[in-house]
């Protein structure tokens, strides 16, 4: 059992590394695998070096980071809320970030430099609002979901309002709202990588609490877990991961929902296994989605968020039917 799970985790990571390299070869300029290695080592063809090192590699690495962040955020939020439908969006983090981003992009496009910060702040405020509303003698999972739905509706209204008012500039906002990795550079990777590492390392310290929460509140209290504190800390790490990823690339839905499910189908319920597996799988899924997005449409880039919804959705339904897990 254990060895099999370990095997899956290692395989997922090997697959991920292979794909990072492999996907650096595909795109509008097709390069052979050997060609890339050769050029990177010898380094006489500047064009190949630019395409691979300056464009494809940072983009792929960003997909890896965002995928891992969102998958872990979803895994933890599903544990905190004991609700299989929970994803980072339910905490208000996506819509809060969207409001921040859309105000910058539509109302004040000159300030796009501070967009990640505004998006992060917007997401955090929305999330704090949801949790404050959900608090009643402790953090009640059902109240988080309800407050989340309400806050998301309000923020959705605000987004629609700005989209209508500034419909002439909507193009740039659409790209952000659908989550796109196009035009991302090493700078974006550098922005996110520090936060990701901090958040992902923190998540490993929460494995035991997340596991105990699954036994139900009474059993968790009896095992000496401070359930309200645990819920807040786990949520905080999840929201931090989701908010930083969203701030850099925009709204990428579905990764945080389906990846934890697939992880549980294959790994069971112990976060000791589902956490590292979700991380690797989230990265892999987003990397594949982004590569599909930049190749299948020819010269038109399809945002990774769109690919996730269109390809990820049916795939999830297929898994649901096949496994009959719920």
């Amino acid at each position: 059992m254990k060895n099999k799970k370990l095997f899956w985790i290692i395989s997922a990571n090997i697959l991920l590394i292979t794909l990072i390299i492999l996907f650096s070869t595909v795109g509008s300029v097709n390069l052979g695998f050997g060609e890339i290695i050769h050029e990177l080592l010898q380094g006489d063809n500047q064009m190949v070096r630019t395409i691979v090192l300056k464009m494809r590699l940072p983009r792929n690495l960003l997909a890896v980071l965002v995928g891992a962040n969102l998958a872990v955020a979803g895994l933890f939020l599903q544990a905190v809320m004991k609700n299989p439908l929970a994803d980072p969006g339910i905490t208000g983090v996506s819509s809060g970030a969207s409001v921040g981003a859309i105000i910058i992009l539509l109302v004040s496009p000159a300030h796009t430099g501070i967009l990640p910060i505004v998006a992060f702040v917007g997401g955090s405020i929305a999330c704090i609002l949801v949790y404050a509303m959900a608090w009643k003698k402790g953090l009640q999972p059902n109240r988080i979901v309800l407050a989340g739905v309400a806050v998301n509706t309000i923020l959705g209204g605000i987004i629609s309002f700005f989209s209508t008012m500034y419909s002439d500039r909507i193009q740039s906002a659409m790209l952000w709202l659908n989550g796109s990795l196009a035009t991302k550079t090493w700078g974006d990777v550098e922005t996110l990588v520090g936060y990701s590492i901090v958040g992902l390392i923190a998540s490993f310290f929460l494995i035991r609490s997340a596991n105990i929460l699954q036994l139900g509140d009474e059993a968790a209290v009896n095992l000496g877990l401070n359930i309200h504190r645990a819920r807040i800390i786990i949520s905080a790490v999840a929201v931090f991961l989701a908010a930083t990823a969203t701030a850099v690339v925009g709204i990428v839905s579905f990764v945080g929902l389906i990846v934890p499910h697939i992880a549980r189908m294959l790994m069971g319920n112990d976060h000791k296994y589902t956490l590292p597996f979700s991380m690797a799988l989230g990265s892999t899924v987003l990397l594949i989605a982004d590569t599909l997005g930049r190749t299948i449409g020819g010269s038109i880039e399809i945002p990774v968020g769109v690919i996730m919804a269109i390809v990820g959705g049916p795939f999830f339904l297929y898994l649901l039917r096949k496994k009959g897990a719920y």
Partner: protein
């Protein structure tokens, strides 16, 4: 061992228990009895600190439980709830291992001592052969025993049980009661349980605490406490009581409700 001092407990606006004091000694088997809604489960949950009293305090070995720290307390008190939910895909042994977590620091992993204690808990609950089975694939009675094994793995000094026999058939009920009794005798573990079955309470407890409407109406050994008048007062039932010749404990034979009797009389 564990003492409630003038506690008041309620949910939101509704006060279930107004002012209750109770002192339970080390090594006792105490059953809390009473009609539905009398506050017995509420009392048990308060003793286990799942509920916090509005007034008064719970003391364990003379220390208020809310001053001890929840993890420390888990090494002294374990509780088996009536409803339990095991995550899908968890095995018996994995679930029982959770009982060891109060004894471990966050970075410690399973060691030899844990293995020994898990083994001990599984043996005493008759689950040794089940240890690698999935909890979700077990019957209700077996599952209840797994949760009991988890509580035992906590190695508590006080074990609280909330209607532990509710979902079990009669042979499993008696088996569980005998198991609880033997754990009490072997390890001098204090047992406090909420029970519905008066005869089981009488048979297996040293002491009965009878409650109605949030108050203690009777407290004593089964022999001193149980009589027709008390049961009529508490449950509105008419019954015969005799003594079990094997154990010399009172045996209750319910006959009918007093309420029904009164209604019949009125009709006549």
């Amino acid at each position: 061992m564990i003492r409630a001092e003038h506690i008041q407990i309620g949910y939101d606006e509704k006060i279930v228990i107004k002012d209750l004091s109770l002192n339970i000694h080390k090594g006792e088997v105490v059953s809390i009895l009473g009609p539905n809604g009398c506050g017995k489960s509420t009392l048990l949950k308060t003793l286990s600190r799942v509920l916090k009293p509005m007034k008064g305090s719970i003391l364990i070995e003379n220390n208020p439980i809310h001053s001890i720290g929840t993890k420390n307390l888990s090494r002294k008190i374990a509780m088996l709830s009536q409803h339990n939910e095991a995550p899908a895909g968890i095995t018996v042994k994995e679930l029982v291992y959770y009982g060891r977590l109060p004894h471990k620091k966050w970075f410690e992993t399973k060691n030899k001592e844990d293995e020994t204690i898990i083994d001990w808990a599984l043996t005493h609950t008759g689950l040794k052969d089940y240890k690698d089975r999935l909890v979700s694939g077990l019957s209700g009675g077996e599952r209840q025993r797994v949760w009991l094994a988890m509580a035992l793995a906590q190695k508590p000094e006080v074990l609280l049980l909330d209607e532990p026999t509710t979902y079990l058939d009669i042979s499993h009920q008696l088996e569980l009661m005998e198991l609880i009794r033997s754990i009490n005798e072997k390890f001098n573990m204090t047992i406090i349980m909420v029970l519905h079955d008066l005869n089981q309470a009488s048979e297996y407890s040293d002491r009965l605490v009878i409650m109605k409407k949030g108050e203690i109406k009777g407290d004593g050994s089964p022999c001193e406490l149980i009589n027709e008048q008390l049961l009529r007062e508490i449950y509105n039932i008419q019954c015969d009581i005799d003594i079990n010749p094997l154990t010399s404990k009172p045996r209750i034979h319910p006959i009918k409700t007093c309420r029904g009797h009164c209604i019949l009389q009125q009709a006549n």
